[in-house]
Symmetry: C2
Subunit: 398 residues, 2 copies
C-alpha cells in the first residue's frame, strides 16, 4: 500500500518533545519511581462522596437528559455558572452566550489554533511555554517567537520588540497565573500593558488560565481579559485542576463573533462535550461550595511546595536556581549553563526519580539547562526522598 | 481589528447544510412540533436504574481513578471489551491494541479526515452520504465523488468506475448497515467486492458503523473489516445508538501503524476521552447484558418503523417512494423529480412537522427531491399524526 497519510502529518508533533514524552511514559511504567514529571492533581483530594450524591440526584431527577445528546454550545446551566461565578470573580463581565464548553482546555487550544493560524503565522509566547499548547498549535504550522521572562513573567519591552519585528503575529499565547512550566505569575501592571500592546500592534491574546484559583497566598489577580476593551482577549478555562480532570470539562470565553467559529468547529469535530459530566459539574456547583474544595486542595499543595522548596534548598548544589510559585502545580529549576537536563534525567532515572527536561517547553528548542518539577502528586516522604536523590545526581556533576 | 481568522475557515462547513441545520434548530425550538428531523435515540429507553448502580459501584471502588486523567489510548478494560465482544462478533479479529477510544464516532471521522486527506484528494462516498462525515471531511478540502446506490447500497460497477476515474482517491467512506440517511444495508457479496476493489485500486475503506447492532429482523452481517486482509479498512464504532449517547464513547479500530497517527492527533487535540464515562461503559458491560438492552430498544424502534411505513403507505401520494430499513433510525423518501424537499419542508413547518431535506446529504448538492425521516424518537401517536400532516402537504402538490 502506498503512503496514505496527509502531508500535514509530517509537521505534527515535536520530535524533541516526543522523545521527552516517550521517556516520561517509560518512567511511569517503572515500579517505585518517584515522579515529579506528571501534572496530575492528587486523586485523593477528589470529592468522591459528593460526586456519589451528585450522580444519584442527577440520574434520579434528570436521567433522560443527562444520558442524551445535548447542544454543541454546552449545557446552559453550566455556562451560566461559569459566566456568573468563575468569570465574574476574575473581573470579566460576560454572559453565558460568550462561553462554549470544551473537552478540557486542551481542546480549546486546538480550536484556537485551527481558527486563527495559517501556516507561517507567528505565535508569540513565553519562553518557556506550555508543551500542550505548542503541540496543538504546531499542527497548523506557525512560527513561534519566544519572549524572555523574568520572575514576573514576560518582559514587556521584549514583548513589544517581538511585536514590532513580527507584523504577521496572530496572537500572544500566555499562561498568566502560576505558569506551566515555571510557576511564575504576571503582575497586574503587565497584564494591562499586554492588552495595550496587543491593541497597538493589532494582535489577539490567548489567555490560558487553568491554575488561577489554585492560589496559596494573597489575592487572586484579575484576568487579562478583565482589561479587554475590544474583544481581543480569548480566555481558556478548565475545571481539571480544581475539581475532577477525568470529566474533561473546559471552556472558551470570547466574543459572540469569535464564538460562532468555535461552535462551527466543535460541531464538525465532536458534536458536543459529554452531557452527563457537564450536568454533574453544574449540579456539584449548586450543591456544594467549589471554593471549599479548592481551599482544601490548595492547603495540601502549599504544604508540598514548601516541603519541596525547603528540601531543594538543603539538597541541591548552590549553582542551581529555582522559582517560588505562589500557586499551581509546578516549579522550575535552572542548572548551570553547561548542564543538559536530558542527561541529568538519564542519571535520575537510574535513581528512580523523574522530571520533565525544560527543552520540551521551548518551541524552538534552544535551551537545555532547566527542568520542571511537579509538587502536587507525590506524598511528603516521596518529595523529600525524591529531591534528595536528585540532589545527589546534581552534585555528581560538580 | 483586521480579520484574524485562518484561511481554512472559508472552506469549513457547507452552506446548504448549514441552512438546513439552522432550519432544523428553529424547528426544535417551536412548541408542539412533531420532528422526524433529529437522529436522537429515545431517552426513555436509557438504562437509568442500571447506570445508578454502575456509577455508585464505580465511585465506591475506583473513584480516584475514575475522576483522574487517563491515557490517550483509552481505558484498557473498555478496549478489551470492544475488541473481544463487539468487534469479534462483527467477524473482526483484532486486539485491544488496535482500538483507540474517541469522543463519539464524530471525532473518529474528524481524525480520519485530518490523518488522510490533503486538499484536492478524492473521497468516494455513497450518494447520499452521512452529513456529519461530509462536514468533518470538508474541513480538509477534498473533492467528493458520489457513487449511485440501489436498494442494496453502492452499485459496485459504479464504484469501480469512480475508482478508475479518480486515481487520487484516498478512501471509500461507507455506512454499510442501515445507512444514514437511507436506511439501506450493503449485502455480504458487495462487502467482499468493495474490499477487492479497494485492493485493486489501492485505496482505503472507512467503515462507519454506528447502527450495526440495531437490527430488527434476521442476522447481523459481518463487518466489511472482517474481509480485510491487508489493513486497509478502518472501522469506526460507537455506543451512542445502543447505550447512552451523552457519554460520547466511540472508537476507531485499525492497524497499529495507523493507530499511532490517531494517538498523536488525539494527544494534541484533547489528550483523552472522559475517564468516568469510559469506566462506566466498561462496568455496565460487565454488570449487565448490552444485548438485552439492544433488543429492548430494537423492539420499540421496529414497532415505530412498522407504524411509520404503514402510515406512509396510507397517507403519502403514490408517486412517492420510500425505503424499508431493517434497522437503524432512518428511512428515506423520494419525491417526484420536480419537487424540492426544502420547499416541502417550509410548508410542513407551517403544519408543525419536520424532517431533513435530502440536499444536506449530497456533498455536491445535486439532488433535491428526497428527504430523511427519523422513526426512533417520536411516540406512536405522534408518528401517525406527523405522517398524516406530511401526507397532506405532499398531496397539496398534486
Amino acid at each position: 500500500m502506498k503512503n496514505k497519510f496527509a502531508k500535514r502529518l509530517s509537521s505534527d508533533g515535536c520530535s524533541e518533545a516526543d522523545k521527552v514524552i516517550a521517556m516520561i511514559m517509560k518512567l511511569t511504567e517503572m515500579p517505585e519511581v518517584i515522579s515529579f514529571a506528571g501534572g496530575l492533581p492528587d486523586g485523593e483530594l477528589f470529592p468522591i462522596e459528593e460526586m456519589k450524591k451528585v450522580t444519584q440526584k442527577l440520574l434520579d431527577e434528570d436521567g433522560h437528559n443527562a444520558l442524551q445528546y445535548s447542544s454543541t454550545h454546552g449545557i446552559k446551566e453550566l455556562r451560566e455558572i461559569i459566566a456568573e461565578q468563575i468569570m465574574a470573580e476574575a473581573g470579566v463581565d460576560i454572559t453565558a452566550d460568550n462561553i462554549m464548553i470544551t473537552c478540557g482546555s486542551q481542546q480549546a487550544l486546538e480550536f484556537s489554533g485551527r481558527i486563527f493560524l495559517d501556516e507561517g503565522d507567528v505565535v508569540i509566547c513565553e519562553s518557556p511555554s506550555y508543551l500542550g499548547a505548542i503541540t496543538a498549535f504546531q499542527a497548523y504550522g506557525p512560527k513561534f517567537v519566544e519572549v524572555k521572562m523574568d520572575n514576573e513573567g514576560m518582559v514587556m519591552e521584549e514583548l513589544e520588540e517581538a511585536l514590532k519585528n513580527n507584523p504577521n503575529a496572530k496572537f500572544i499565547y500566555t499562561v498568566p497565573d502560576f505558569q506551566n512550566p515555571t510557576g511564575i505569575t504576571l503582575p497586574v501592571e503587565r497584564r494591562k500593558k499586554m492588552v495595550e500592546l496587543a491593541q497597538k500592534y493589532d494582535v489577539l491574546i490567548l489567555e490560558d488560565n487553568p491554575y488561577r484559583n489554585l492560589i496559596f497566598e494573597g489575592d487572586r489577580l484579575p484576568a487579562i481579559k478583565s482589561f479587554d476593551t475590544d474583544d481581543r482577549v480569548i480566555y481558556h478555562g478548565t475545571f481539571s485542576k480544581v475539581f475532577c480532570p477525568g470529566l474533561r470539562i473546559g471552556w472558551v470565553c470570547t466574543s459572540k463573533e469569535f464564538l460562532d467559529q468555535y461552535l462551527l468547529v466543535k460541531q464538525s469535530v465532536d458534536l458536543q462535550t459529554n452531557t452527563m459530566s457537564q450536568k454533574e459539574t453544574a449540579l456539584y456547583m449548586k450543591m456544594y461550595d467549589l471554593k471549599e474544595n479548592v481551599n482544601k486542595i490548595a492547603a495540601v499543595y502549599r504544604r508540598r511546595r514548601d516541603l519541596m522548596l525547603k528540601t531543594i534548598q538543603e539538597e541541591f548544589p548552590s549553582n542551581c536556581s529555582f522559582t517560588h510559585p505562589n500557586g499551581g502545580l509546578f516549579l522550575w529549576v535552572t542548572l548551570p549553563e553547561n548542564l543538559d537536563a536530558s542527561d541529568v534525567l538519564k542519571k535520575a532515572m537510574e535513581m528512580r526519580v523523574g522530571f520533565v527536561p525544560g527543552i520540551a517547553f521551548y518551541p524552538n528548542g534552544n535551551c537545555r539547562n532547566n527542568f520542571r518539577l511537579n509538587f502536587s502528586s507525590m506524598k511528603d516522604d516521596q518529595i523529600v526522598e525524591g529531591i534528595k536523590r536528585l540532589g545527589e545526581v546534581l552534585k555528581s556533576y560538580q
